[in-house]
Amino acid sequence: MYRPRVIPVLLLKGNILVKSVQFKNHNYIGDPINAVKIFNDLKADELIFLDIEASKQGRLISLDFVREVGEEANMPFGVGGGVKSLADIESIIKAGAERIIINSAAENNSFIKEACLNFGSSTISVCIDVKKKIFKGNHVWINAGTKSISNSPVNFARKMEDLGVGEVIIQSMANDGRMGGYDIELIKEITQNITIPVTALGGAGNTNDLLQAYDEGLANGLAAGSMFVYHGSNKGVLVNYPEKKELEFSRFI
């Protein structure tokens, strides 16, 4: 029976792990390779690494880092951060990642199309960061949430599907780091209007939130940051992952 993937999203600043709240206030979490080792032991489904400063600094996520993760990880992993050319993608895949996550360069339609043609749809994911503009509703943002490029997340997601993208990650910037649940309406709006898999991100605080994004949001991938690196109400740093039996949910029964 098909089971949705539950995916820790790990944010990088340089070579250290951090966690944000609403894309700001980055807290130090620890050493990313150590986290990979723990997620191996906990048998995580998949991991995502995002270098949140790469685009801003006009560079690519460190290939040495990707190689190091690849040597450790017993599960598939995706990588994002400053990816803007076919050569970038090729070097990341050669370094060992399965999936490429594109955010800022997603405004370049011809690049996205070429990337999907050259590396296959299932290699290319686009992360759609969504935040409201005052009085103007949801917009799509790039460059770590600093530049708006579309006033319709649904239309943007449809365009990505048309260009051949294999999966979209839909992230609520307002819910980021709050651990109060996903933006279910936003996720549902996307999942009901495209035929490629959708991974939910932004806001999950516990396994019930994951279940809700799956049952009500109809998401295929359930991604989160804080939930997998914090423990307890004081947000003590503790890398964790639900037991498999807690994740035995299926809407196909």
């Binding site: 489904d45 060992g96 299932s122 290699t123 490629i196 898999p197």
Partner: protein, 195 residues
């Protein structure tokens, strides 16, 4: 081919020696061969042809009977043809590769990405110690359709039942990714190494 390095790493961690090769002599002298691959059917076949590896693969697999394992696209290449391009496959199985045709597009997105159960349809050394309906990691938009049902090793359900593993004599192919499937994947590779 996307998963080359992770397959090689997994094999090396199990005390076997894996080399990544595009050399016909190395292919002919190998004890075992793995065809990995995430990517595009037509591009992969054209690569094999432009590197002049097709004849070596046929000889190693069909004449020398070297055990061979195809993973994901590597398995699909063993079919006669694919809807993903017009170029012919290796043709080791009387089969064609087709795109997922799902009706319920809200619940069943394509590509099929995630962990899914793998049913064991026949006894095979490569399934030793692996539970019936064990979950493996999948990521694909196309799947193989077999003419000879006795060559079906595994089946998996995603909107409908499709063939997720194939086997005939020394030839094995799986749609799932054992190199990314934790303990079950390790067991699978141990079985392949022990063939």
């Amino acid at each position: 081919m996307g998963n080359l390095s992770s397959v090689a790493r997994r094999l090396n961690s199990l005390n076997s020696t894996a080399i990544i090769s595009s050399d016909a002599n190395e292919i002919l002298s190998a004890d075992k061969i793995i065809l990995p691959g995430v990517g595009h059917f037509q591009k992969a076949m054209k690569n094999i042809q432009s590197l002049h590896l097709e004849a070596a693969l046929h000889e190693a697999v069909l004449v020398k009977k070297t055990p061979v394992l195809g993973i994901c696209l590597g398995m699909q290449l063993m079919a006669n043809s694919s809807e993903e391009g017009s170029v012919k496959g290796l043709g080791w199985f009387d089969a064609e590769v087709v795109k997922f045709e799902v009706e319920d597009k809200v619940n069943y997105k394509v590509p099929h990405i995630g962990w899914n159960s793998v049913a064991i349809n026949k006894k095979s050394p490569i399934m030793n110690g692996i539970l019936h309906e064990e979950r493996f990691y999948f990521v694909h938009s196309y799947h193989i359709k077999m003419k000879n049902k006795q060559d079906i090793l595994n089946e998996t359900e995603y909107s409908y039942k499709f063939t997720s593993g194939i086997e005939r004599e020394n030839i094995f192919g799986v749609q799932y990714h054992p190199e990314k499937s934790h303990d079950a994947g390790n067991q699978f590779f141990k079985n392949f190494i022990a063939l």
